[in-house]
Symmetry: C2
Subunit: 440 residues, 2 copies
C-alpha cells in the first residue's frame, strides 16, 4: 500500500475495502497509530478504547458489506449519545455517564457499517462552559474552533475519516474552516437530533466532516438526502458572492479565502457575481441571538435545577432570562426567520445556483481560551439551509481557511452536486495539507 | 385522614405534605395500594418497582421540601427517558433498555421533588405499532385513548396524581378527555423534549395530566411558564366557541361536551360567541399530515436501518416516503403553519380571551384496537398554542368527555388563569368521577 490508510479520504478507503484490497482492521489500525502519535498534541478525543475498536473492525471484516461506510472510522462529538462510550458533554455534571442507546444519527451510520472510534472533545454542552483541550493540528498554539473542536481537529489531522459535529451558531462550519476539512451542515431536521444534547431546537443541526465532497456525499446518501441530483458543471455555474451583512467583521484571512475561492471559480468558468441579500436579512443576527437565549433557557433548566452552581454563568443567565426576552420579541424573531427562509429559497433559480460566503472571520485565532466567532454562520443556521464548508487556501499565518457554499432548503443533494463541481477549483491545497501534517 | 391520599388532587396532597400532616410515604403507599387493586384491569404501567418507590418516598420525607411537587407521585409515558426505569417505547426493539439519564422534563420535576412512580404504557413510539394494553378506567371494554394511554388512565383512575404525556397529533389532550382528567399541552418547546422519543420536532410536545387546573399550574410553575398572570373572572370572559373546520367529524358525546361547557360558562357569566377561524386554517390538517409523514421519515430512519422488519408498516412507509412528499409540498406545509400561527395569536385581544373547542370526537370508543382519532387536536398542535383539557360531562354511555381551552402562543400563564376561572363552571362532575371509580 503506497498511502497510509489514515491519510485517505473516506471514498478512497471505502473503494479499497469494497474491493477487499484493504481490511477494516488495517484502516482502523492506521488511524489508531496516527491517534497514538498525535493525540498528546492534538487532544481531540475524550474517550476511545483501541481494543474495542479493533475487535469491532474484525467483526466488520467478517460481515458482508453494509455499503460505502462499511468499516470507515468515525469520531462522534461528545454531545451525541453512543451506546459504547460515555457521553459527558464535556461537563463535570455528566462525567462518565453512559447512555443506553446510540443517538439517531449514530445509529444510522453505525447501521450502515461505520466504525465508531470514540468521542471527541467539545465546548461544554456544545454551548458554553469548559472549552475542549483540543489544539489546531496546524499549530497547537491555535484553537481548532468549536464547539466541534475534537471532531474538526481529528478529521483535519488525519486521525479519522469522518466525524459528527453540531451547529447552533457556527460550531460545525467554523471548525471545518480552521482545520482544512470539508463539512456538511444539512438542511434543518434532515438528520434526526434525537440523542443530541439540545441547546436550541430551532437551530441545532447535526453535520459531518470529511476530506472531500465525495466523502460528504456518501454520508448524505445514508441519510437519504444525497440522491437524485444531476451532475453539475462549474462552467457557467451562477455563483452569488455574498459578503453578508456582517462583512465588517471579516479578517484578512477570511477575505483572502473568499476572494481566492471566487477567483478560482471564475477561472474555472463559473459566473461569479456579487449577491446582495434582501434587507429583511439584516435582522437575522439579532433574531438568532434572541432564539438562542430563549431556547437555551428551556434546554438548560434541568441542569439549572439539579446542578446550578456547576452550570456556566451565561447558561444560568439564559434560564433566568437576564436578557429579559419577552414573548413579543421571541415571536418577532421566529416570524422574521419564517419570512426570510422562503426568501432565501427563492433566490435560487435561473440567476443563481449557489451562494459563496465566508466560513469564518479568518483563520483560527491564537489560544484555547477562544474557539473563534460564529458571526458568519449564525444567519445561515437560522435559515435552515444546507451549507457545505470547503477548504480554500492557507492564510499567511500558515493556517487553513475555508469558504461556505449554500443552497435553498431541502436541496441538499443539489448542493452536494454543485460542491462536487466547485471543490476541485476552490481547493487546490489538498496535497499541501497532507505534506504539512504528515509525517508527524 | 378522611380521604384516601390517592384520591386527592396534587394540590390537596401537596398542602398536607407541606404542612407535615401527611408523609410522602403515606401518599405513595395509598397510590401503590390503588395500583395493586386496579392494575389487573387498567394495566396502565409498563414498569414500576414498589420497593424503589417507597425507599424514595422515605428519602423525600427526610429532605427539606423542594416545593409543591415534593413527594407527589408521577407516572412517565414510556417514550420519555428515566434514569431509574427502562425506556422501552413499548417496542420490542428497545425491550428492557435502560438509559443513563432522565429526560429533561423528568429531571426538572424530579429536581423539584416529584416522586417518579414508574413508566406508563403507550402506543409504540407514541406513533404507530403496538397499542398499549391499558383499558379505560370507566369501562375496560373501551380505550383510554392514546398514545398517552397509561398516563391518562393512571391519573384518571386515581393511581397517581400526575403523569407526563406527549402529543404529536392529539395524543395528550384526547386521553385527558377519555379519562376524565385535566391535561396541559404547553406552547411548543416551552418544555424541553430532550430525552423524548422524537416523531416530529415541529409537532412533538410534552404535556402533563392532573386532576385540577391548580394541579396543572403547580407543574407549569416549575417549568417557569405558570407565573405572572393576573387572576381572571369568568364573568364577562370572552369565550370563542370554535367548532373548527373538522366539525363534521364530531360525535354526539363530543357535541354534548362542547354545548354543555358553553352553556355552563354562559350561565356563569361568560360571553360565549361562535368563532369562525380564518380560511387559511382549513389547510392546516393536510399540512399536519405532510409534516408527520416527512419528519417521521427522518425520525424512524435508525429503526428502519437497524430493525426494519420490527417497525410498523406505516412508519416504514414514512421512511420510504411512499406518500411521495416533495420538498415543495413540505415547504408549503411549513409556510402555511408559519403564516397561521401569528394569525391565531392575533385573534386574542379585546374581543376574545380564550377558544373553547372539542377535545375529541366523542367519548372513548369501544375496543383496544383503536385509541380514537386526533382530528380535533392536530391543527392546534401544529399551531404551537397552549391547550388545556378540562372534563366537561359524562356521555350517555357513562364515559367522560372533555373540552379544550386554547390561547395564543407563549400565553401559557394567562391560559392557566383563564382555565382556573372556567373549570369550576365547566367541570361539575368531580365528585361523580370519584364515586364512579372509588371504591373499586
Amino acid at each position: 500500500m503506497e498511502t497510509e490508510p489514515a491519510r485517505m479520504t473516506a471514498a478512497e478507503a471505502s473503494a479499497l475495502i469494497q474491493a477487499k484490497k484493504m481490511s477494516c482492521e488495517e484502516l482502523v489500525g492506521s488511524c489508531l497509530a496516527r491517534v497514538g502519535a498525535r493525540d498528546p498534541i492534538v487532544k481531540a478525543w475524550l474517550s476511545m478504547d483501541p481494543g474495542h475498536v479493533i475487535r469491532r473492525a474484525r467483526e466488520l471484516d467478517k460481515l458482508p458489506s453494509k455499503g460505502p461506510l462499511h468499516g470507515i472510522p468515525w469520531g462522534v462529538k461528545d454531545v451525541i449519545d453512543t451506546a459504547d462510550y460515555p457521553t459527558t458533554q464535556n461537563s463535570p455534571i455528566y462525567d462518565g455517564l453512559k447512555m443506553g442507546r446510540d443517538a439517531a444519527a449514530v445509529a444510522v451510520v453505525r447501521g450502515a457499517g461505520a466504525l465508531i472510534m470514540g468521542k471527541t472533545d467539545t465546548v461544554e454542552f456544545a454551548s458554553s462552559g469548559r472549552k475542549a483541550l483540543t489544539t489546531n493540528p496546524y499549530n497547537a498554539a491555535h484553537t481548532p474552533g468549536g464547539s466541534s473542536s475534537g471532531s474538526g481537529a481529528a478529521v483535519g489531522d488525519f486521525q479519522v475519516q469522518y466525524a459528527f459535529g453540531t451547529q447552533t451558531g457556527g460550531s460545525h462550519i467554523r471548525p471545518a474552516s480552521f482545520n482544512g476539512i470539508y463539512g456538511m451542515k444539512p438542511s434543518w431536521n434532515r438528520v434526526s437530533r434525537e440523542g443530541l444534547r439540545m441547546a436550541s431546537p430551532t437551530l441545532d443541526t447535526i453535520g459531518w466532516y470529511g476530506r472531500s465532497v465525495e466523502d460528504l456525499a456518501l454520508v448524505a446518501e445514508v441519510f437519504r438526502i444525497g440522491r437524485d441530483a444531476a451532475p453539475v458543471s462549474v462552467k457557467g455555474l451562477r455563483v452569488g458572492l455574498c459578503r453578508s451583512p456582517v462583512w465588517p467583521r471579516i479578517e484578512p484571512g477570511g477575505e483572502l479565502a473568499l476572494t481566492t475561492a471566487a477567483k478560482r471559480l471564475a477561472d474555472a468558468g463559473a459566473i461569479v457575481e456579487d449577491l446582495d441579500l434582501p434587507d429583511a436579512f439584516n435582522g437575522l443576527d439579532e433574531a438568532h441571538a434572541t432564539i438562542v437565549q430563549h431556547e437555551g433557557g428551556v434546554s438548560f433548566l434541568p441542569e439549572y435545577i439539579n446542578a446550578g452552581p456547576m452550570l456556566a454563568a451565561d447558561l444560568r443567565a439564559r434560564v433566568e432570562n437576564t436578557a429579559q426576552i419577552t414573548a413579543e420579541r421571541l415571536l418577532a424573531a421566529y416570524a422574521l426567520a419564517d419570512r426570510c427562509r422562503p426568501m432565501l429559497d427563492s433566490l435560487f433559480g435561473p440567476d443563481l445556483d449557489v451562494i459563496l460566503t465566508p466560513s469564518s472571520r479568518g483563520e483560527a485565532p491564537v489560544g484555547l481560551h477562544t474557539t473563534g466567532e460564529d458571526v458568519f454562520n449564525r444567519m445561515w443556521t437560522l435559515l435552515h439551509a444546507p451549507n457545505i464548508g470547503i477548504p480554500a487556501c492557507f492564510a499567511p499565518s500558515g493556517l487553513p481557511v475555508g469558504v461556505t457554499l449554500i443552497a435553498g432548503r431541502l436541496t441538499d443533494a443539489r448542493l452536494l452536486a454543485i460542491a462536487a463541481a466547485c471543490a476541485p477549483a476552490i481547493d487546490q491545497e489538498v496535497e499541501a495539507r497532507k505534506r504539512r501534517l504528515w509525517p508527524v
